[in-house]
Symmetry: C2
Subunit: 339 residues, 2 copies
């Protein structure tokens, strides 16, 4: 399979996030990408570097004020008295206030949804490269490839048009989907990361051209908490073009595959010209922040079923935090996809 990858992600390595009021080591580490790359190399896939696509395709998805924030936040933060190493929000508008402040401390709260998307010096560069990886893989589909894997880091599916959150800054899969609409008027996104793709859902929630279907841990007591519920089905033009399939904590292969069939039927009914997959391995049974019990073999089975849709398919890497298992889980998926 064609695989797009770059080492530019190494410029983004914030060491900690804030969870429950205290700093803890970041889960989304550079060694994740190394482990995934090992699987690509072992599998003998066709590895290519990203091609810069410029800001145009990114601005098609993201708010320009938000992009300016992402680009400048770290250096502005460093001008504060006693600056901390990473930009973090500590006061947010939540659902009750709307004013957009001019200062960096307020903007951090305005443009960030969680304490788990710290902005480091190299976050903007790494995020741009990650989006270019997804765009380059998407461009390969436009050129006739039937499948491509975008080894993105940082991930993207928790990024909204104007909000960072949950380890994500730019929504790589949404940017790639927007790029693909130039060829295919109907697209589908399947999100199998263990966390609901709240950013992706939000971006396409009122659109009828891009179907969004997500399998994930029940958000009622699991990140991202505020979206991912079954009653979120799209609105306006996008009515009935959003399908959430939350799974109970501890659900395993059998339950996941039953839900996957529901997802695949919804996708077939939409008749997309191409498919994009938000590919997370954090549903794995040993994932340190997962809540499901998906086995290594099941990732292959998921891939076989997705592959059986026989659609041009873009695989976009999202989460997965049990680093020692990432190589074998990606291998299982890519092997299943090609068979």
């Amino acid at each position: 399979m064609l695989v797009v990858q770059s080492d530019a992600h190494r410029s983004h390595q914030p060491r900690e996030i804030i969870s429950r009021g205290q700093a803890i080591p970041h889960w989304e580490v550079a060694s994740r990408a190394d482990a995934l790359l090992s699987a690509v190399k072992t599998g003998g896939h066709d590895l290519r570097p990203p091609v810069a696509h410029g800001l145009g395709p990114i601005e098609a998805i993201h708010d320009t004020g938000y992009l300016e924030f992402l680009k400048t936040a770290w250096s502005r933060w460093q001008e504060l008295p006693d600056p901390t190493p990473y930009v973090h929000p500590y006061a947010q508008p939540n659902r009750r206030m709307t004013g957009l402040p001019t200062g960096i401390q307020g903007q951090a709260g305005y443009y960030m949804a969680t304490n788990s998307a710290p902005i480091a010096e190299g976050t903007w560069i790494a995020s741009l490269a990650s989006a270019d990886i997804a765009l380059t893989a998407a461009s390969a589909l436009l050129s006739g490839e039937t499948a491509a894997y975008a080894l993105c880091r940082p991930p993207g599916h928790h990024a909204f048009s104007d909000l960072a959150g949950g380890f994500c800054y730019l929504n790589n899969i949404a940017i790639a989907a927007s790029h693909l609409t130039q060829r295919w008027p109907q697209l589908a996104i399947l999100d199998i990361d263990v966390h609901h793709g709240n950013g992706t859902q939000s971006i396409f929630y009122e659109r009828n051209d891009v179907l969004f279907v997500s399998l994930h841990g029940d958000p009622s007591d699991y990140f991202p908490f505020f979206a991912g519920y079954a009653d979120e089905t799209g609105s306006g033009l996008g009515a009935n073009k959003n399908l959430n399939l939350p799974l109970p904590k501890g659900a395993g292969d059998a339950e996941f595959l039953v839900a996957l069939e529901v997802a695949l039927k919804k996708i077939r009914d939409h008749k997309p010209g191409a498919l994009l997959v938000s590919l997370g391995f954090d549903g794995f049974e040993k994932d340190p922040i997962g809540c499901l019990k998906i086995t290594n073999a099941c990732f292959g089975e998921i891939a076989r079923r997705v592959s059986a849709l026989e659609l041009p398919t873009l695989l976009v890497q999202e989460g997965g935090y049990d680093v020692p298992s990432l190589e074998s889980n990606l291998s299982s998926f890519l092997d299943g996809f090609n068979n």
Copy 2:
């Protein structure tokens, strides 16, 4: 002057808040109340304990789901694996998601706007007592007192109907105002804390019976960041019943008193039956988290001008964090008010 106070606030003493991604010592400490009480005792005021008013007047302002959260949050948080000492939000809906999760970690984000309103074991008890202090002082006005001072701790003006934030949990002045509407159909709230009273504004934003007027540091680069702008003038029935007078960083007595005259004219024009004052001393020139340069003498002058409205007046304590100056600043205000 009649003063209502209680020692119940001592059950609420969280030691730290999260600011810019790191834990720092809490500014809103119990010794603040001790310093304020010293001024009351030195001034020979008429000190009384609060009378419990029950949940009714609180439920008139606050969402019942939020109240249940405040009451149970700390004990639910302690049931998490490796619980931290205080309830803190770390993922928030911000302006893009609306789902209400059932679990405590998600609800912390749903019901809390900032990382500066940690919930400790005794927060609920102290917050109830603080609301009862405001209610008891309000009841005294209903009984014919012309002025009363509610020595509230924790403060309240950053608390929304369904959000804690900025050291605040229950909006004491809003609860008291609601209680006073049984006698006076028109009320005015004057907020002179250095931070905009975003919670109070929000609670009365669509009401035409309670005018809200606030003098505060410009929120474009100052807490609470997302509200407090001059263009927020009320909506619906409340149109033109909200007046924000943001002051530039470093503004002193002269600028504050000019803005105060604008505020007092707006209040007179509203023809309220009674006045409530959100009384903060964090505009003081030495306040560690203030942004204005108000002098001790000016607090007396502010009080004289407010007192000249000749309205039944409820003073409700909000912020002020330079503990050594609190006694003299409150003395200056109370002396000015009575002269």
